[in-house]
Amino acid sequence: MRKRQPKTYTRLTHPLVRDSRDEPFRQATWEEALDRAALGLGRNRDAFGMFSCARATNEMNYVAQKFARVVMGTNNVDSCNRTCHAPSVAGLSAAFGSGGGTSSYEEIEHTDVIVMWGSNSRFAHPIFFQHVLKGIRNGARMYAVDPRRTSTAEWAESWMGLNVGTDIPMAHAIGREIIHAGLANEAFIQRATTGFEEYKALVEPWTLSLAEKVTGVPAAAIRELAHAYARAERAQLCWTLGITEHHNGTDNVRALINLSLLTGHVGRYGSGLQPLRGQNNVQGGGDMGAIPNRLPGFQDILDPDVRRKFESAWDTVIQPHYGLNLTEMFEAMEDGSLKAVYCIGENPAQSEADSEQAVRRLMALDFLVVQDIFLTKTAELADVVLPATAGWAETDGTTTNSERRVQRVRKAVTPPGEAREDIDIICDLAARLGHDWKYADAETVWNELRAVSPDHYGMTYERLEEHQGIQWPCPSTDAIEPTYLHGRLWETDPSRRGPLAPFGLVQHDPPVDLTDDRYPIRLTTGRRLDSYNTGVQSGGYASPLRRGEFIELSPEDAERYGVVVGEQVQVTSRRGSVTAPVWVDTALRPGLAFMTMHFPDEVDTNALTIEANCPIAGTAEFKASAIRIEKLPIATIVG
């Protein structure tokens, strides 16, 4: 098999500018580049959007959202968390008022039942999976729900290979079975939830046999999972993008949360809900307010008291309405109401579903400034490119992981050439646009954040160092809170219990891109162990595991189409077409194919995916496209 060396990106070392998009970039001084950027943004104050970076530090995200809100006067700030886990945040906050995963890694080592739903964390989150393995070694039983029999699923007591996009029928059938078997935790339901009767009525039609018909999974398997989860004294329900990257991702999340409410598997040590985040600071970006509906500390923009606090802290006026999310910003580019974008560390030209459409929209902007460490495909579309630092190795600050642990990031190497730290660049731009911010260092930014975010108040840099990171909430500088959230739901005193958790009344809605005679194969997407997202970073090292992009087929389909491993085929969806070599994977069943987005320069998988978005969270349905496979007229074997 060939060894793929994907496109290697070289670090940006100097600012780049150009007068028109038709011209090539030329090197510029920081003075000139920043002046041009300030000019371009300044003239579009009422039509501006900020793409912040889920991979940069909390401090950078804090300053970036402050730039959008204070300098540009808009709540249009978002990041690529939209493309992955926004539904988790939306679903969890709807149920519990807070968007974080409810438990800690350590708890999964001491639980009894683990459900991995739409999550190949063995590949996508290998070190989290080590905690799962500890749990398994300690006696926990793991159940996997995934269309593919992934490496994760191979560790399961029971793997259920459901049809793509039938998570809600599966969850509802589990809920119904729990209720009918008398296994619902009535004490918890009564004490801590609302809407149970409606939920009960909602799931009533979802008998095991109907669920078997819709999901393809035998009724007995669904029943077994229902009983195992409900009877466990402790249980953890974990999910990843298999749940969220659907046009109804938030509904999917709600359907899973319902199961925890039904059984009381939340708010206790060892029992909880764990969405696994795809990027190092997806959690932190949202916590810092780099999302259109929340201010730092995950505080609601619509709350006047919250706004007043920030307005006085920042000496500004905050728009009393939600801004546009990433998806909506792209739509606003289409209708011309969004004309300028400041894009920091993101690569939407390749990471968005229906990437061709995304590129077209970015090209139509009046002004695009991109701040990155590489000249990405998105940067190639820009008017001004600002060379920045790699957050994790070249700056100081903090990031927040999937278990809400805020940890210190430290500068280990000096950035190349004239590359500068994100915060310094943003501050220079802010100064040119009339706001003179003074931050001596990342810690100064952090302390400003602590002052406005009660959940972070107790986390001084000194304490973060001492404890190797602290999980939020941490309101006090003297104490550490429990490792899990929502213990309040178990309180007997209603005033301490706080708002009850509502069951989510969500309906099954099959994938938008239906399979039919012309597009008979269901394409789903995911990650491989050694690669990451669009491959800009992971392409830089020589992985012995890397074999480039393939369209993975079941052995049966490969036979049906008469194709062999390595043979180039045409893969076509209703939106686009690519050629890709074939790989055969026994983890797939007939009619199910798999690709990744790791090698967009070779095979632009997102030319196939559909931009059907979750109306609540805006995440696209990367996990379900309909495609067909065609042999090429002249067989080409890559090998």
């Binding site: 290697t8 990106y9 070289t10 670090r11 070392t13 890694y105 996508a124 989150h125 290998p126 070190i127 989290f128 080590q130 393995l133 070694r137 040590y269 029992s271 696994l276 985040r277 795809g278 190092n280 600071n281 997806v282 959690q283 590489f374 790699a390 957050g391 994790w392 190795a393 070249e394 990031t399 927040t400 992981n401 999937s402 278990e403 642990r405 940890q407 210190r408 990031v409 430290r410 280990a412 190497v413 000096t414 190349p416 050439g417 190797q468 990171g469 490792t483 899990y484 162990l529 050694d530 690669s531 990451y532 800009v536 970073q537 992971s538 830089g540 090292y541 020589a542 992985s543 012995p544």
Partner: protein
């Protein structure tokens, strides 16, 4: 409701260590007690993230009433036990163990061993010029790791780290028996044909440099590896949201090696291929 378990409180026990009263929590090993008392007992196969394998026997101490010496790394302290760490008998066995290893294995990159050889007056040469050695060539079959089994003392740490204690990939095992036993993948195949996922967690625990990063191996070969010129900075991995702590070893502004703190609550010293090796993009500077 369930509350956060704090664990069962550990009782303290008392025993005699080199004639002095030692007080340690129940479940402590003799080695734990020695370290708490500031005593230096040499160790090779012991690992802070692994269950004791007590294979190397360099940490043996004398326990009153025991027929043989006991390994301090695995033997739990018992109330009333009388332990002596520095008797002639214990020192003799340590010396012989060091001689046996040094006469058969390349210990040139094993930290501390030079000092121990001197301290115990070990003379590995006395087994003569024909003494059997491992005589292995470095296996360089991929771009990330080198396996130089001429330096392997068969401590099993890599096998344990790859196996059920951490990674659960089970790519390697001990194959063969006795002096011919070697760490190997199935059918002695190259690593690239094995279950290896290149997490590097075996390298993290290797005590002798038998397993090393290709970057380190190449720099050593070129004579440019210089630990005294390296800085170590702990930061957070930028791949995925798990939040693994990385310690970047930097020499001349280049990342040359990545490790993880062994006491870190997220990683316990373990990383995946991306965290361990996926740093190169940062230094693609021209």
């Amino acid at each position: 409701m369930t509350v956060t378990p704090l664990g069962i409180p550990r009782r303290m026990l008392e025993f005699t260590l080199d004639g002095e009263e030692a007080r340690v929590p129940e479940g402590s090993t003799i080695l734990d007690a020695c370290r708490a008392a500031g005593k230096d007992v040499p160790t090779l196969c012991e690992g802070d993230t692994l269950r004791p394998k007590n294979a190397c026997r360099v940490c043996v101490v004398e326990v009153e009433g025991a027929r043989t010496l006991v390994p301090a790394c695995s033997r739990k302290a018992e109330p009333g036990m009388e332990v002596r760490t520095d008797t002639e008998r214990a020192r003799h066995s340590r010396k012989i163990v060091l001689e046996l290893l040094a006469s058969s294995v390349d210990l040139s990159t094993t930290p501390k061993v030079t000092g121990w050889l001197k301290e115990y007056e070990a003379k590995p040469d006395r087994f003569g010029p024909d003494a059997a050695r491992l005589n292995e060539e470095p296996k360089v079959d991929n771009d990330l790791y080198v396996r130089d089994y001429d330096k392997c003392i068969l401590c099993y740490k890599c096998v344990d780290a790859c196996g059920d204690q951490w990674q659960n990939s089970f790519a390697i095992s001990v194959a063969g028996r006795g002096f011919d036993a070697r760490i190997a993948v199935e059918h002695d195949a190259p690593l690239t044909d094995s279950a290896c996922v290149y997490c590097g967690n075996c390298i993290e625990v290797c005590p002798t440099g038998a397993l090393s990063f290709k970057s380190e191996f190449d720099m050593r070969a070129a004579g440019t590896w210089d630990e005294s010129a390296q800085t170590e900075t702990t930061t957070v991995c930028a791949y995925c949201g798990v939040g693994c702590n990385l310690t970047l070893h930097v020499q001349d502004n280049e990342i040359v090696k990545v490790t993880s703190p062994h006491d870190n609550p997220v990683t316990h010293g373990n990383l995946c291929i991306k965290g361990r090796f996926g740093y190169q993009h940062v230094q693609n500077r021209d």
